[in-house]
């Protein structure tokens, strides 16, 4: 049985029947393409017709498949894009597939001979549904941080130190790291082939982080700003959500994706900026909606100057 709520299920015979009626034309990217490749015809059209009548899949007035069924099938068979929602933990990878055509999105899942088609929804409705999976705050102190790779590694060292000190009795060993202690991690010489940070640049990174208020100076060293402590202590790589959209333009696909990591109270986005910096963003309710919309929704028309190109992927 499909776990997909409110889905309609068809088997290969049913799909072949609809194809015979000239109502199903799976394109190259469609998961139903096998019908075309294998030139599937129904084995028993009479029985399938009866089943369609009983299931309200048949429209007597139109002498064809009911429109309510066709509108679920068309985005999957004549898909212009696929949206993948992938949830990963340490043991498994679960994915849900949504296909897009016209203005409609339909979830699709196949179990051997059975094909499940979810209800028709808009891109905006899918964004809203995905957003509901995450807890968010209305606002946050550090909405978006972009760091160089060196600055990020220094930040990570402080974050690891903070995490390690959790639940350990107070003593000298769990006091905040000094700059020297941070630098001690990086004392191994590297080649000259790639410019690598030296002690001076790591000191500079600490200064950069302090300038941005990400590190706060204390009596014995630096500590991470309290607003970032939840991220530092709770973020887990094995709790990862990826939302990717593939727009099919034949040999060329346009791909967009975001990677989200939820904690108990919030959700964070980690990524890479076009200028090479590391992006670390706590998503508020508003910025999560914008980010999802930038990934999931159809790209705006940039040839028409009157239409706002307002998708804000990565810019919020």
């Amino acid at each position: 049985m499909s776990k997909m709520p409110d889905s309609v299920t068809l088997n290969n015979e049913g799909l072949a029947f609809i194809r015979m009626l000239g109502e199903l034309f799976p394109n190259l990217e469609s998961p139903l393409r096998f019908l075309e490749d294998e030139d599937r015809e129904p084995d028993n059209p009479e029985a399938t017709f009866e089943h369609f009548e009983e299931s309200n899949f048949w429209d007597d007035t139109a002498n064809g498949t009911a429109e309510t069924l066709i509108e679920r099938l068309t985005p999957v068979s004549e898909c212009q894009a696929r949206i993948l929602l992938v949830e990963r933990n340490s043991d498994e990878r679960k994915s849900r597939s949504f296909y897009f055509a016209g203005n409609n999105v339909v979830e699709y899942q196949r179990d051997k001979e059975e094909h499940h088609f979810g209800p028709v929804r808009s891109e905006a409705a899918l964004c809203a549904e995905i957003a509901q999976r995450f807890k968010t705050r209305d606002q946050c102190e550090f909405s978006k941080i972009t760091l160089s790779a060196g600055d990020y590694l220094v930040f990570a060292v402080f974050a690891r130190d903070l995490r390690a000190s959790e639940n350990v009795p107070e003593n000298d060993e769990d006091s905040p790291m000094t700059v020297d202690e941070v630098l001690a991690f990086f004392d191994e010489p590297e080649t000259k082939v790639v410019r690598m940070p030296d002690d001076d640049s790591w000191t500079t990174s600490v200064a950069h982080l302090a300038e941005q208020n990400i590190l706060l100076p204390g009596r014995e060293g630096y500590r991470i700003h309290p607003a970032l402590c939840e991220l530092a202590k709770q973020i887990v790589a094995d709790n990862q959500y990826t939302i990717a959209r593939f727009d099919y333009l034949d040999e060329q696909w346009l791909t967009r994706e975001i990677n989200l990591y939820p904690t108990e109270q919030s959700v964070y986005r980690f990524g890479t900026e076009p200028d090479g910096s590391v992006l670390l963003q706590e998503l508020t309710t508003g910025s999560l909606a914008d980010t999802l919309s930038g990934t999931i929704c159809t790209l705006p028309n940039i040839l028409n100057p009157e239409i706002q190109t307002s998708l804000r992927a990565g810019t919020t």
């Binding site: 009626l21 059209p45 017709f49 007597d60 690598m196 791909t255 930038g294 790209l299 040839l303």
Partner: protein
């Protein structure tokens, strides 16, 4: 991209509007496309279809390369082409409705006979003919719509991350690094190479990646693979593992599909780094 020409396939495809002399000169003096950097991820050659039906597959391709070039060089002509394509689309939709109406008459008869197998068999040839006509029209409609999408949505304004030439250089450099943290630092700096955007790239397109995919491989599997080996995803995971201190096993990071050439090699290097702790000494 292989430089296919629009207008050479389906008869209903409108011709590209004439380019200005300046644009033509620019085009003829340009180097062959294969010699320069390409603004997309590339795919290993030699891909074939699941059932070897490559000819049919290639007939369903729209050849978008020249469209993108046109949009980049001559936006006014691109707008004109979009208008022409819109007319074509409209005319195709009318033809599809006409064909559907003819098919409905036949289906009405079959429905009255409750789609008995013998009756369906009798009308099988007619059914197939209607379906073939509709398939042809639908294909032409798809080609028009995809060209329109290509022009309207990106119009040649995607960034040029120079991937093909850069990734092998990155991999060579990476092999010369010794410490784990050094390797991680190097990988975390790759965003500029992978996702560089040109100045004219609109903000909302900066995170869009144009990926060349082979005709014939199943799109369903291909998109799963792309998601799995995406450097953006793997780098984000690296960022978080650098904080949470976790590592992956060699089995978890095994890249099974090698379809995407350099792209896959880069992913393997990122995965290798994910199997160790950057502060754990030399690898």
């Amino acid at each position: 991209m292989d430089g296919g020409k629009i207008g050479s396939g389906a008869p209903t495809t409108p011709a590209i509007p004439t380019q200005s002399p300046a644009v033509e000169n620019k085009s003829t003096s340009a180097k062959p496309e294969s010699a320069g950097p390409r603004d997309q991820f590339e795919v290993k050659s030699g891909a074939t279809t699941r059932n070897g039906n490559l000819t049919q597959v290639m007939q369903e391709k729209t050849k978008g390369a020249d469209v993108l070039k046109l949009a980049r060089d001559n936006p006014a002509a691109a707008r004109q082409l979009v208008a022409n394509l819109a007319l074509t689309t409209s005319s195709l939709m009318t033809s599809i409705e006409t064909e559907k109406a003819a098919l409905r008459l036949l289906l009405e008869q079959l429905s009255a006979k409750r789609f008995k197998k013998s009756e369906v068999k009798k009308e099988s040839a007619k059914l197939k003919q209607h379906r073939a006509n509709l398939r042809k029209l639908k294909l032409q409609l798809q080609i028009s719509q995809r060209k329109m999408n290509l022009l309207e949505q990106i119009a040649g304004k995607l960034g040029n991350p120079k991937l093909e030439s850069e990734i092998s250089r990155i991999l060579q450099r990476h092999q010369k690094l010794r410490s784990r943290w050094g390797k991680r630092h190097h990988l975390l700096s790759l965003g500029k190479v992978l996702y560089d955007a040109e100045e004219e790239t609109p903000k909302h397109l900066e995170h869009v990646v144009q990926t060349e995919v082979p005709g014939g491989l199943q799109a369903e599997q291909l998109s799963e693979q792309l998601e799995e080996i995406s450097p953006r995803r793997n780098l984000s995971e690296m960022m978080v593992r650098t904080i949470d201190g976790s590592v992956k096993t060699a089995e978890q990071t095994n890249v099974r599909e090698k379809t995407f050439g350099h792209y896959t090699e880069l992913t393997e290097v990122i995965h290798e780094s994910l199997t160790n702790d950057p502060w754990g000494g030399s690898s």
